[in-house]
């Protein structure tokens, strides 16, 4: 029997919601991190070039999408009945998104280029 609020709404654990919020931070951070790594290393750039016509953006974006969905899936299972503090998870996710924004800024990632 699920727990209910005074208004009769089913009270849901915050785990599955926290999972997708943190996964969005992880996916965004992955975009920034891979942007820096492709600028810093020709080997990483080559490995992420899934399509010659698109360049390393093809792998960078595909891997980041996989990171988002995989993190979401894993955390959703791990936290399906957990109740992590949603605001703290959101703050961590916001920090990851901010780092992702910084990492995708060309003058920043080009500073790591050889």
């Amino acid at each position: 029997m699920p727990l209910r609020s005074a208004e009769g709404e089913v009270l849901r654990p915050s785990g599955p919601a926290a999972a997708v919020v943190l996964a969005s931070g992880a996916g965004s951070f992955s975009l920034g991190l891979l942007s820096v790594l492709t600028a810093a290393s020709q080997q990483v750039s080559d490995a992420l070039t899934f399509s010659d016509r698109v360049g390393d953006v093809s792998g960078l974006t595909a891997v980041s999408a996989v990171v988002f969905f995989a993190t979401w899936g894993v955390l959703a299972v791990a936290w399906r009945r957990a109740d992590p503090p949603l605001l703290r998870v959101a703050a961590a996710s916001a920090a990851l998104i901010a780092l992702g924004l910084l990492g995708t800024f060309p003058p920043f990632f080009n500073a790591f280029g050889g």
């Binding site: 997708v20 975009l31 953006v57 998104i97 060309p106």
Partner: protein, 156 residues
């Protein structure tokens, strides 16, 4: 236009529905109807955001960056006055744009998970609002850069 239009409509509709989704202002039927529409709006927004970035990456980017003298990328790089349009603006847009579908998908997932409980849970509503605004901000930035780059070097 075909994809961007529904994306904008879905964002506007979702924003209005979310801001008005308060248990103290709505009947149970009202909450149910709004949540159904909000689910539709955020899902359409997420699907359109993925369609936009996938088409941009796999269809438009190869045309833009073709290794020919008349490709938009070559035109922009050929002059020092337009070089930054590629090296800063277009490259940043290409990299950052994927945050829009990620954030929009997270918003749609939260709406799907909380459902009618959103009307009672201010924290969850604010989270959905933040994700929607983030997705819209990133996609607006990318669209603005895209249109300015297209003006500087039209895609033929």
């Amino acid at each position: 236009m075909v994809i961007g239009g529904p994306f904008l409509l879905a964002f506007s509709g979702s924003l209005v529905l979310l801001l008005g989704l308060r248990a103290e202002h709505l009947t149970v039927e009202g909450i149910r109807g709004r949540v159904t529409q909000l689910r539709l709006g955020t899902t359409v927004m997420a699907v359109m955001a993925w369609a936009i970035v996938l088409i941009g990456t796999w269809v438009l980017l190869p045309w833009y960056g073709e290794d020919t003298p008349d490709s938009p990328r070559s035109i922009l790089l050929s002059k020092s006055s337009t070089r930054q349009w590629h090296e800063l603006a277009d490259v940043w847009k290409t990299h950052v744009a994927y945050m829009a579908p990620i954030l929009a998908t997270a918003a749609a997932a939260l709406v799907g998970y909380y459902g009618r409980a959103l009307a009672h849970d201010r924290t969850a509503r604010n989270l959905v609002l933040s994700l929607l605004l983030g997705a819209f901000a990133v996609s607006s930035f990318a669209a603005l850069i895209g249109s300015l780059v297209t003006r500087a070097a039209p895609l033929r």
